[in-house]
Amino acid sequence: MSVLVYINSKNGLHKSAFETVTYGKKLGDVTVITTGSLSADQLSTLGNYGASKVLVDRSVEGDDDQQLTRIIASAADACSAITIIFSHDLVAKAVAPRLSVRLKAGLISGAINVPSADGTVPVNVFSGKAFGHVKVNASRTIISLLPNSIQPQENGSACSVEDFNGNAGSAGVRVISTKKPEGEIPLPEAELVVSAGRGLKGPENWGLVEDLAAALGAATACSRPVADIGWRPHHEHVGQTGVAIRPNLYIAAGISGAIQHLAGVNGSKVIVVINTDSEAPFFKAADYGVIGDAFEVLPRLTEAVKKFRSSGH
């Protein structure tokens, strides 16, 4: 089966790119389509994860969803792809639905694994409170894969990279400016996340959270009230009405564990909860619990992590 994987290579290749190529390889012969200016040498490394070929349309950066939709549709036709894979990120949220209308393909978004034996694909529903098993009734399928759902696997070698003209056409969206926080790890892709809630008492105390995150190499997150009061930026708000994440490790300090918060984080592989209240509901969803004051426990944990990291881990 011919599989097309779209990769956003605007800021280099990230783990989510390796995940989607690995995923595609499990389904069939993978062609990658991307846009922008990343060198052929760099793009050829996608072969290590199982891509047979990379097509790159260098006429656009890839900021406009109408242009991307046309390019990916052209590539899907060029390689007769039956299945098209995205990483379920902000680009996919704009482009995959458009593409499904253009190609009359069934769209499965938020996949968390490869198709099961019965052909259904498991997805997160009810903000992570349950899984749905979705079947497509059309001749083509589009799957957008939640980041951190499968492990990238290296099992190939560098592949060929070809220039491709996808007839991008004109853009509907004009980009005026971009604001990018430097050096931060994007939350949905982060493997380790340190998060805090109202228990931290005020924005001036977030140094404790940032220190632990820096020691671990983790991203930072927060509960909704913390973002609502403006202690932390909105993009850090996790939960049912914020970002849904599935890191390997989620450390929550001073968060009570309300159902709406849990909905966005219960896909995490391991949860550590630090709370003064032994009755906090979050302990029921945790793997490791620390009943204690975050103001004392966080610095102690940071020291322990630093010691661990400096011993060569």
Binding site: D63, D65, Q66, T69, L90, K93, A94, A96, P97, V101, R102, L107, S109, T120, V125, F126, S127, G128, K129, A130, F131, G132, H133, K135, N137, G172, R174, V175, I176, T178, K179, K180, P181, E191, L192, H234, H235, Q240, T241, G242, A244, L249, I259, Q260, G267, A286, D287, Y288, G289, V290, I291, G292, D293, R300, L301, E303, A304, V305, F308, H313
Partner: protein, 246 residues
């Protein structure tokens, strides 16, 4: 400016999620439906603010059965001039989007707004599908929107940052946090909502592209292991050797 706001019902966020009929159907027993928070808090309220500042008209649209009119009235209580219900069970996002696109095509809107996703199916699909069907630009996960004549200036989330963009109307925008503040309906709004026009429109024929075959629940967590707050070395050791996450 003529604005169409797409709303969907979703179970109240505290609802217990379970399934019936051999795990093939969401169990609606005892479930309270609300307007999907992204649709209400951000899309609808921002539409009302734009109307208040520039004049125009705000229409709410929802694809659903007669039973869903209570949720549509809840949205009308917050504001909006009128509402449309496409009379069909929204079997998947594609079906719903094609119904809304069809209505938008015949009635002509400057702006179609959706929430960034529903909190039950979390697909983020409907807005983009409508935009493609209408051949209009789409700005997804917008956190800010200003209108200047036929130009929209928006902020949208991109992978790891924020982008300021411009589009010309007509356009489709999916709305997220930052766009507006939640409004609590007042008594006058609730009374007025009862008599606002709610037009029922027959659905057009559309293929169902996807089927939710069945549902499963996550495995229950095993008991939480308690760690002495003074012994964080032990926690680090467990995260490394037992959980293998660092």
């Amino acid at each position: 400016m003529k604005i169409l706001v797409c709303i969907s019902k979703s179970p109240d966020t505290t609802s217990k999620i379970s399934f019936t009929e051999n795990s093939t159907k969401f169990d609606e027993n005892g479930v309270q439906y609300i307007v999907n928070p992204y649709d209400e808090w951000y899309a609808l309220v921002r539409a009302l603010e734009i109307k208040e500042a520039n004049g125009g008209n705000v229409t709410i649209i929802s694809v659903g059965s007669a039973g869903d009119e209570a949720v549509i009235r809840k949205a009308l209580a917050i504001g909006a001039d009128d509402a449309v219900r496409i009379d069909a069970d929204p079997t998947d996002a594609y079906f719903a989007a094609m119904q809304i696109a069809e209505y938008a095509k015949t009635n002509g809107f400057d702006l179609v707004l959706t929430g960034k996703e529903t909190i039950n199916y979390n697909g983020s699909q409907v807005g983009g599908m409508i935009a493609e069907a209408l051949d209009q630009p789409f700005v997804s996960v917008a956190t800010k929107m200003d209108v200047n004549g036929t130009t929209l200036t928006l902020e949208r989330e991109i992978n790891g940052g924020i982008e300021v963009v411009e589009v010309n109307t007509p356009a489709v925008v999916s709305c997220a946090k930052g766009m507006a503040e939640q409004r609590i309906p007042n008594m006058r709004g609730i009374m007025a909502a009862r008599t606002k026009p709610l037009q029922v429109v027959a659905a057009v024929a559309v293929d169902q592209m996807t089927t939710y075959v069945n549902y499963t629940m996550p495995n229950a967590k095993s008991a939480c292991k308690m760690i002495d707050p003074s012994n964080m070395d032990q926690l680090v050791e467990l995260l490394h050797n037992e959980a293998k996450v660092i």
